[in-house]
């Protein structure tokens, strides 16, 4: 850290005299509870501007996002003696357990002949990574703003960045799990598929979906503890309504359509295609999943923004 301190500053520091008439000074202008927008935009340009808003806000607060993320990961990995070892041991043990439990299965649940006895374990594990990522956000979301109440109440803290930060934090754990899974795949079956390179493209809509969901849950949870209880009740049920241990291909087409209403179904199907099966996911599934993540992202953002001013009052 000290090495960086000697580097020249990005922004030249204004001398005291230049305080009068700086152009880059932040400006706050509110009339009757509404921010005054100086730039005039047409309807379409305004809409496009709104769609870009979450990204612009995140870029603006990038240093804050990184500072808190760094702290959270430090806490997670320095607070314990073994540090990173735990993060790797947990998914590894889970994988070993599934391998032992399901190694007898020769047919994958989607009626594809298993290439090796380990495929079924990997098949479950892929779904489980996505599901535990989701459930961490679902559990943490409603209490997120309470965790950071000290920031929100007393400072100009951009509370809408918290769902992004906690989702990124969970991404790190999910990636560790993914790496363990891929390592196991290489060691046990000796094959990785080229479709793996598409995995980052899977991750981005999944993050968008989770961030949107967390925006919604966090805003809801700020006002009522019911949101936390609701998620605690729903998440275990949802686990059985989600194809983690099975595949939806065994069901009749009508039931299948119903299952795609669960947004996780599509995400899990796609990650299985890319990692264990090595084939391209079906296009309608990809399109539907993409649509769901966009809806979640922007609905969550819209909802959080709408409640934002009340949040500082009630937290």
């Amino acid at each position: 850290m000290t090495a960086v301190a000697s580097s020249p500053e990005l922004r030249p520091e204004p001398s005291p005299e230049s305080h009068s008439g700086r152009d880059d000074e932040p400006l706050l202008h509110i009339i009757d509870g509404e921010l005054v927008v100086t730039e005039r935009r047409g309807a379409l340009a305004g809409l496009l501007h709104w769609f870009g808003e979450p990204m612009r806000a995140a870029w603006h607060h990038r240093d804050l996002i990184m500072a808190i993320l760094r702290r959270e990961l430090n806490e997670r990995f320095k607070g314990s003696m073994a540090g990173w070892v735990w993060a790797i041991v947990a998914p590894f043990l889970a994988l070993v357990t599934y391998t032992l439990a399901f190694s007898g299965a020769v047919k994958l649940p989607n009626q594809v002949e298993a290439a090796s006895q380990f495929d079924y374990a990997l098949f479950i594990f892929g779904g489980l990574i996505a599901y535990s990522f989701f459930s961490e956000m679902a559990f943490r979301g409603p209490s997120l703003l309470h965790e950071y109440a000290h920031f929100i109440k007393q400072t100009m803290f951009p509370a809408e960045m918290l769902p992004i930060i906690s989702t990124l934090r969970a991404t790190v754990y999910a990636l560790i799990g993914l790496v363990v899974m891929l390592a196991a795949q290489i060691v046990l079956t000796g094959t990785v598929y080229w479709t793996l390179v598409l995995l980052p493209i899977w991750l981005i809509p999944f993050l968008a979906f989770l961030i949107g969901m967390t925006w919604f849950l966090a805003a809801l949870g700020a006002f009522t503890r019911d949101a936390a209880y609701l998620m605690m009740t729903l998440a275990p049920i949802l686990m059985f309504a989600t194809p983690v241990f099975w595949s939806i291909d065994g069901f009749s087409p009508n039931v299948r359509l119903l299952m795609y209403l669960n947004p996780l179904t599509g995400f899990i199907e796609i990650i299985r295609h890319l990692t264990v099966l090595g084939s391209l996911p079906r296009l309608p599934v990809v399109a539907w999943t993409l649509l769901l993540s966009l809806v979640s992202f922007y609905f969550g953002f819209w909802f959080f923004r709408r409640q934002r001013d009340r949040i500082a009052d009630v937290i």
Partner: protein, 256 residues
């Protein structure tokens, strides 16, 4: 739109807190808010209009619950005003409730990095000023310890040191310096005096001497409105007189 010297302008500013009798009222407000209002409003600020020019130093005085802190929080952008116009230009250093914004489990270093980012500093800027911040705070090797091991005074020191390095245009101080020891208070006061030479100061304090020393103007806020605005000597005198004659009105915390 506004004279180039103005840094803060408030016109008929009002802030209402929404009070709900119970949680279900809030859910109804979210779902059916377009048709019916399910909350009562508590107007912490009713009608406040004033203008602050660059380089001004203004004291805000008033009894507990008169709306001083709400006004400061509104100006800082923490709370959004319900009605009226607010116009603020410049980087603000909010010295509010010093140290209470720190995360207890994080080290001093982590809190400085996070706090600096919250205040709008870029990472290279915080890193470049880091040693100077630690020096000013005088916390020494404690900077690597979690904040929970700090005394209240040490927390306040670190928080003030951070604000002092912000190179802000507007400094907002909310009776926060009371926790530090005399030596540190003097250090802060000296620093604030130096700051006044190029920056704008908003200062809330119940200490008459500090108001007289630091400010050239005082605004007395009473019941969410400005009661008197003028020279510190005059305003402080009428405020002191009112405190002696007017009873402590218990009804002022009622919502309508």
């Amino acid at each position: 739109m506004s004279s180039s010297d103005t840094v803060i302008r408030a016109r008929n500013l009002g802030k209402a807190y929404q009070l709900y009798d119970n949680r279900s009222q809030w859910s109804k407000q979210v779902l059916l808010g377009a048709f019916h209002t399910y909350y009562r409003s508590f107007w912490a600020l009713k009608d406040v209009s004033f203008e602050v020019k660059r380089g001004d130093s203004v004291a805000l005085i008033g009894r507990n619950g008169c709306g001083k802190s709400t006004l400061l929080q509104v100006i800082c952008g923490i709370l959004r005003p319900t009605r009226g116009e607010l116009w603020v230009k410049g980087r603000i250093a909010p010295v509010l409730a010093l140290g209470s914004t720190f995360d207890l489990e994080s080290t001093g270093r982590e809190n400085v990095m996070i706090g600096g980012a919250v205040l709008g500093m870029r990472r290279p800027e915080v890193l470049a000023k880091f040693d100077s911040i630690v020096d000013f705070a005088g916390v020494g090797e404690f900077i690597e310890q979690p904040i929970k091991h700090y005394s209240t005074g040490m927390r306040a020191r670190l928080a003030f040191a951070l604000c002092a390095h912000l190179e802000a245009d507007i400094l907002i101080v909310d009776e926060a310096l009371a926790v530090g020891d005399a030596a540190f208070q003097r250090k802060c006061m000296d620093w604030i005096e130096g700051f006044r030479e190029h920056g704008t100061l908003l200062f809330v304090s119940h200490a008459k001497a500090d108001v007289m020393r630091l400010c050239r103007r005082a605004i007395w806020i009473d019941d969410g409105r400005i009661r008197e605005d003028g020279k510190p000597v005059d305003v402080v005198r009428s405020y002191a007189r009112a405190m002696e004659t007017e009873p402590d009105d218990m009804k002022r915390f009622m919502a309508v």
